[in-house]
């Protein structure tokens, strides 16, 4: 203790006098002037520290063999054992492949959908109809995942609504959640159903920000409706599209487990099992807490790298950045 404070004194003594005085005073002065702001920030900081950073400290159990009786600190170190185990597992590459494919397909199909919808809504002349379409397409966003998954399973049974429709068009009945090849389609399709309307908000607001004079000028030049769409409307939302696209790229390895767990069964693990569901099973069914935490952390690190990369690209290309 004494040694520490001695070091501190030496440290301070080395620094320029003025700076030392300035620093302390500045802080005190700032605190006095803005003490209510500090008071407001206190619970905010407390929240992030307690509920995010303390659990992040708990991630050390990835390198330990966590035993509840010994606690996080008392559990023995095992180094990179669980990371090695993961890469040696038979399922590793399938998990990574499924995660990326599900994510890429979601991007390919799910990303353009709200853009197209927004453009279509934007072309509607009647404001009343426009507003109705907007309000109604937002609704699915607010429906519980449990309900969405429950209905999806209900409708896709052999005797369910989807098959009634398939049959009505003269098709053969399909067992949607029995065959691996349908899973991605069902997952992504229901995702689009739920989120496409919601996704238009941001594009519609970008569209509404377009200067009407541009259209007027184009009309005078004799441009038709479609050429205005291509030459004015679309280009003006390109920046928004790029920002969102980059953000999405950063999420490429992120596929949440909640919806998949509600939907899948072992006959379609081939396409449906992703990293997060595997983590869930390991951590909550197999008692492999450390293993699960290790894989989860591996996934988080990849996410972080992707976001940082995406952000760097964004800053260069678009001069937009998250931070």
């Amino acid at each position: 203790m004494a040694k520490n404070s001695a070091t501190a004194t030496v440290d301070l003594a080395v620094r320029p006098r003025m700076f030392r005085a300035g620093y302390g005073t500045m802080l005190r002065k700032d605190f006095n002037r803005n003490r209510y702001l500090y008071l407001m920030a206190l619970p905010v900081v407390a929240f992030f520290v307690i509920f995010h950073y303390v659990p992040m400290y708990g991630l050390v159990i990835s390198f330990k063999r966590y035993s509840p009786a010994l606690g996080i600190n008392g559990s023995p170190w095992v180094g990179f054992k669980y990371f090695v185990d993961f890469f040696e597992s038979y399922y590793t590459w399938r998990l990574i492949r499924n995660t990326i494919l599900l994510s890429v397909y979601s991007l390919v199909w799910g990303f353009p959908a709200p853009i197209i919808l927004a453009l279509l809504i934007n072309e509607v002349r009647s404001t009343g109809f426009k507003r109705v379409v907007q309000s109604l397409t937002y609704v699915p966003h607010f429906i519980s995942l449990v309900v969405v998954a429950g209905l999806l399973l209900e409708f896709s049974q052999g005797s369910g609504l989807f098959n009634d429709i398939v049959q009505w068009f003269g098709g053969e009945r399909i067992f949607f959640f029995q065959e691996p090849r349908f899973f991605r389609g069902m997952y992504i399709g229901s995702g689009i159903w739920q989120e496409v309307g919601w996704g238009t908000i941001i594009y519609l607001s970008a569209l509404s920000a377009i200067d009407p004079q541009l259209y007027e000028a184009a009309t005078i030049d004799g441009a038709g409706r479609f050429s205005k769409l291509w030459r004015i409307t679309v280009p003006s939302i390109i920046p928004t599209i790029v920002v969102l696209l980059i953000l999405r790229l950063g999420q490429l390895m992120t596929v949440g487990h909640e919806k998949i767990i509600l939907l899948y069964n072992s006959s379609i693990y081939e396409t449906a099992d992703v990293i997060s569901t595997f983590v869930y099973r390991k951590g909550l069914l197999d008692f492999s807490w450390s293993y699960a935490t290790a894989i989860g952390m591996f996934n988080s690190i990849i996410n972080l790298l992707l976001v940082v990369t995406a952000n760097a690209i964004s800053r260069r290309v678009n001069e937009t950045s998250l931070w």
Binding site: L39, M40, L42, P43, A46, Y66, S67, P68, A69, G71, S89, Y90, Y91, L153, Q157, G158, S159, F175, F177, Q178, E179, P180, Y264, N265, S266, S267, Y269, E270, R281, G283, L284, L285, D286, F287, W289
Partner: protein
């Protein structure tokens, strides 16, 4: 402004108060906490066992106030896992220790989750001690290899209680088409084809996977066993085998794929949820299936009572050639691994022991099997077909609820015998639960297999073995389930069976078999 400040402070205080809120130990109170999954037939009527008549009576009889902790339905496994991870344990846990704790009971003890009960039982469990002394097989199954008792077990008190699952089919349709009860697999093929050809159903045979993503109750052993193997571990003359790793399993796959390709099996057989499965049977979309005596035959007949000709009969486990005894069938061990254990954090071990032992005495036995005398049961000497024996007969309160609740739901309120519990299950329960002739016949027909010779007893592993075993099997089970569907549906050609076996070997299946073998030998030596 002051108000806002106060609000902020209040938030912090509440937060702080919650952080500081530790446990308060009640000194001397006769109170216990028990963690256990709530049976879905009970959860229909009450949110916790606290509110069931049977436990209110038990509290009165013992003077012990039990608080129950129940996981969400279908989340038993996850919540048990979190409970262990939290190291914040109740006094007692009711669980299938032999299987659900990775590493088994010995590991649970060495991990400091539960405690050995030898001393506690000697000091305060005269009823159970006496029962185990009278029944050597029960005793052998109730402890680990090194002689440690670890739970107050669920005991099936008679052969009639151990068999409750098997093939069944639509009796009315079989009669209509003039079909004999199938005995051999060829008979089965003929029957399935006949029902399909008659246009009664599109797919005659179905199964259900009760529990999404974890294990299949599916074709289970009923149609695998004729080939002399099973879906899981079994023994042949003291040698442990893993069914899917045996060559006979290919014979089964080839045969079953034949059925599947011929449209004799419901394409959804692997993913059917219980409700879907039930609906298919009740709607007459299928003709044959495997299910239980109670929630199968009994429940379907109850539900479709009086609707058309709907009728069900139990069918024997199939064989290849007439005259053979089925290699395997459903049969439970008298002790199936479920039991109530005392945790290392129990505040009063003697009190917990007293509570648990109550169920094994005369008073507890009657209470947990039949409920409350004069309310849920009455004594009688004449029970249909069982002259001369003294019978505890369920009253109308249980068998004919005024609100239309089912027998099982009422049983869930007044007894533990209807599902399972730290009790000795009484065979008088099953004869009243299985009231119909078809159900009684089922028990009789399904009992005639070599299951008793081929199934593994309730063996335990050493902690090290158990962990290794759990690691191997977690991959193996997923792989087995997946490949089963892929083989049957043709996504994977049967010619790849060799690779399937090789992959199993690579995953360490031989080591797993070795561990089971060692366990079996130690069990026999107990």
């Amino acid at each position: 402004m002051k108000k806002a400040l106060l609000l902020a402070l209040a938030i912090l205080l509440v937060t702080g108060a919650a952080f500081a809120g530790g446990e308060e130990e009640a000194g001397g109170a006769r109170e216990l906490t028990i963690w256990e999954g709530l049976w879905y037939n009970t959860s229909v009527s009450v949110p916790t066992l606290d509110e069931t008549p049977v436990y209110m009576a038990a509290q009165e009889a013992t003077g012990i106030d039990v608080t129950w902790i129940h996981p969400p339905q279908g989340q038993d496994q996850e919540q048990f896992n979190l409970l262990i991870a939290s190291n914040d344990l109740p006094d007692m846990i009711y669980q299938r220790w032999s299987r659900e704790y990775p590493g088994g009971p010995e590991k649970a003890i060495s991990d400091g989750v539960i405690i050995p009960l030898n001393d506690a039982m000697e000091a305060g469990a005269p009823n159970l001690t006496q029962l185990l002394a009278d029944n050597p097989l029960w005793d052998k199954s109730a402890k680990t290899d090194n002689g440690t008792y670890y739970m107050f077990p669920f005991i099936r008190g008679g052969e009639d209680l151990m068999v409750f699952f098997g093939p069944q089919g639509r009796a009315d349709w079989m009669e209509q088409l003039g079909l004999e009860d199938p005995v051999t697999l060829d008979d089965w093929t003929a029957n399935l084809q006949a029902v399909k050809d008659a246009g009664l159903v599109e797919y005659p045979l179905t199964f259900t996977q009760f529990n999404r993503g974890r294990g299949i109750n599916g074709p289970g052993n009923a149609f695998i066993q004729p080939f002399g193997t099973t879906w899981d571990f079994h023994q042949v003359d003291g040698v442990v085998e893993f069914g899917p790793y045996e060559d006979e399993y290919l014979d089964f796959l080839t045969f079953f794929k034949g059925w599947f390709d011929a449209g004799l099996v419901d394409p959804e057989f692997f993913s059917n949820e219980r409700a879907t499965f039930d609906a298919k049977i009740l709607n007459g979309e299928v003709a044959f299936w495997t299910s239980y005596t109670g929630s199968g035959i009994g429940a379907y007949l109850d539900a479709n009572g009086g609707q058309g000709t709907f009728d069900i009969k139990p069918l024997a486990y199939p064989v290849v050639n007439e005259g053979e005894v089925p290699f395997f069938g459903q049969r439970d061990n008298p002790l199936n691994g479920w039991g109530l254990a005392i945790t290392s954090q129990a505040s009063d071990v003697a009190l917990a022991t007293e509570w648990a032992d109550f169920a094994y005495g005369d008073q507890g036995h009657l209470l947990f099997n039949f409920g409350i005398e004069g309310e849920s049961y009455n004594w009688t000497t004449e029970y249909e077909g069982f002259e001369g024996e003294r019978w505890a007969e369920y009253t109308d309160i249980v068998t004919a609820d005024a609100q239309g609740r089912t027998l099982a739901q009422m049983g869930g309120l007044y007894t533990r015998s209807f599902y399972s519990g730290p009790i000795v299950q009484d065979r008088q329960y099953i004869f009243q639960y299985a009231r119909r002739p078809a159900q009684r016949e089922a028990i009789q027909i399904w009992s005639q297999t070599q299951a008793a010779d081929h199934m593994l007893p309730l063996i335990t592993a050493t902690p090290d073995e158990a962990e290794e075993f759990a690691e191997i099997m977690s991959e193996v089970t997923t792989y087995r389930e997946e490949m089963f569907v892929r083989f049957i549906t043709g996504q994977e050609p049967l010619s790849n069976f060799g690779e399937f076996q090789a992959r199993l070997e690579q995953m360490g299946i031989e080591r797993a078999i070795e561990i089971r073998q060692a366990g079996l030998e130690r069990f026999d030596a107990r």
